[in-house]
């Protein structure tokens, strides 16, 4: 078995991956924010009475979910300039963030939609009995409860997004996998480098896990049952 332990440890604790990790965090955060905004709007539309808008959102979701992320990235980066004869020529970071954000928006639309639909029907009826407007009902009653339901699937999406940033190597963004590729293409230490790359992604995913637990705890406030209150 060939494993250069010294090289592996040197690379693991070197600063070579700090900038790429910062890029992954930056790109993933921005794309996730775009995805949550787009998904929030889409999910609310799908639960609203506007049939035409609903059709448009459903078309968007079906299309984006049916096309691989890699194809979408290449479309935004190389496809658009080719289509528009160079009129639209997005820089790599813009193309990457938009592609990942729009891709995320489709999945978030479904998550928000099902989150809203999971809120007990009785809540909606109670809001209507209290003569709350549609806007008040959504903002004060339905959405806060839907958000709590949507947090775990959203967490899945964040981890997937962090891993999907590795596809940006095709458009020469120097993220973690691209940096690893450059290193092992020069020194041929494939396994050691790939192991370090995998560990960095794992660190990011586990790190996000802590954030998710904190968010879930915050949204679980006020849900303690009478039993919890009695024993605490």
């Amino acid at each position: 078995m060939h494993f250069d332990l010294k090289y592996f440890l040197d690379l693991l604790f070197s600063t070579q991956f700090f900038a790429p990790v910062a890029i992954v965090i930056g790109v993933a955060s921005t794309a996730m924010i775009i995805g949550i905004v787009v998904g929030g709007i889409g999910g609310i539309i799908l639960n609203s009475p506007f049939a035409l808008l609903q059709r448009a959102v459903r078309l968007y979701v079906t299309t984006i979910r049916g096309v691989p992320v890699l194809v979408q990235i290449v479309f935004w980066y190389n496809g658009l300039p080719a289509l528009t004869g160079g009129a639209v020529n997005l820089p790599a970071y813009a193309a990457g963030i938009i592609a990942l954000g729009i891709n995320e928006g489709a999945y978030m639309t479904e998550i928000v939609r099902s989150g809203i639909q999971s809120v007990d029907r009785g809540q909606r009826e109670a809001a209507q009995a209290l003569s709350l407007s549609y806007r008040s009902m959504m903002m004060k009653v339905i959405l806060p409860q839907a958000v709590r339901i949507a947090i775990p699937p959203t967490g899945n999406q964040v981890v997937n997004l962090i891993k999907n940033t590795s596809l940006l190597f095709t458009i020469a963004i120097p993220e973690i996998f691209a940096t690893g590729t450059n290193i092992f293409s020069a020194n041929f230490k494939y396994f050691e480098v790939i192991a370090v790359v995998a560990i960095w992604y794992l660190v990011l995913a586990i790190g996000y896990g802590f954030i998710q637990r904190a968010v879930e705890r915050r949204f679980a406030r006020g849900r303690r049952t009478l039993y919890d209150l009695a024993v605490s």
Binding site: N78, G86, N89, F169, N182, F184, S185, A186, F188, Y190
Partner: protein, 282 residues
């Protein structure tokens, strides 16, 4: 009478067997020895990157260009069929290690770093060239002149090593920006899109794309070696796993046969690559 008949029958059997053996030996004499332990018996499995004409590309769904055509002739000399595995450049060396193919034939420059891990059969004289937009007016003499500009390159290539060698010596106000792609076609597309100033590619790829699209591309440098001024251009070769001397020997003999038989010249002429003739530097 019975013994005479059996004698005749034995003679006939011996005679025809001897004749058959002579025939087999004769036809085998026309086949050069094949490498042992092929990935697939009867086939020479070749790893390559078919994204850069004229060295390797897909033409009407068939691999064409210097690399696939030469390796097919080499395989034919050993009476083997060719199986071409097309993947990205950075996957070629790991694939060879993992024995997914017998050899790699993809314009691989023979560098000292690579010679430590692999063995080579030289087949072409390489060289690197910078390519820019037709109207950019940029002209470079060596890699150090690229400081202050942006360049697109292929991951793991000699061009990448060449630019990274000088990148850190660029003055602080003139940094070199490198954008690393998976194949030369994409690197050139960056120039066409005006997203970078230059692409650093192999000289035959540069010559071909400038000939095909003279309104989009123009040469931005002489043919460089990638190792600094006044150094020899790298030879390019077919890659074999380290220590597989029988394979290397078989391939080398087949390449020589291709050169002696004229097939090598035909390929060079077809793709306008006379400047890469390996026999000129041997």
């Amino acid at each position: 009478m019975g013994s005479k008949i059996s004698a005749w029958i034995s003679a006939a059997i011996v005679g025809s067997t001897a004749g058959l053996l002579v025939d087999i030996a004769h036809s085998q004499a026309q086949c050069l020895p094949a490498p042992p332990n092929l990935v697939e018996a009867g086939y020479l499995t070749v790893g390559t990157t078919l994204t850069a004409p004229p060295m390797g590309f897909m033409k009407d769904n068939v691999p064409a260009g210097f690399d696939p055509e030469l390796i097919t002739i080499v395989a034919e000399k050993m009476c083997l069929k060719t199986k071409i595995v097309n993947l990205t450049f950075q996957g070629l060396f790991p694939g060879l290690e993992a024995k997914r193919f017998d050899v790699v034939a993809s314009q691989i420059g023979i560098t000292d770093a690579r010679k430590e891990k692999y063995d080579f059969v030289p087949v072409f004289v390489g060289g690197l060239r910078l390519v820019t937009q037709k109207d950019s007016g940029l002209k470079f003499k060596t890699e150090s002149d690229v400081c202050g500009y942006s360049a697109s390159i292929v991951a793991g290539s000699t061009q990448m090593a060449a630019l990274q060698r000088v990148k850190d010596d660029c003055p602080a106000d003139k940094p070199m920006t490198l954008r690393v792609f998976t194949n030369q076609n994409e690197a050139l597309n960056e120039v066409a899109k005006r997203s970078v100033n230059v692409a650093y590619v192999d000289w035959p790829v540069a010559a071909f794309v400038i000939q095909q699209r003279p309104n989009d591309f123009v040469e931005a440098s002489p043919v460089l070696s990638g190792k600094g001024p006044n150094t020899d251009r790298n030879r390019n070769g077919i890659v074999v796993r380290k220590g597989e001397t029988e394979t290397a020997g078989a391939i080398a003999a087949a390449v020589k046969a291709a050169q002696d038989g004229g097939a090598y010249d035909q390929i060079l002429t077809r793709w306008n690559l006379a400047d890469g003739d390996i026999r000129k530097v041997n």
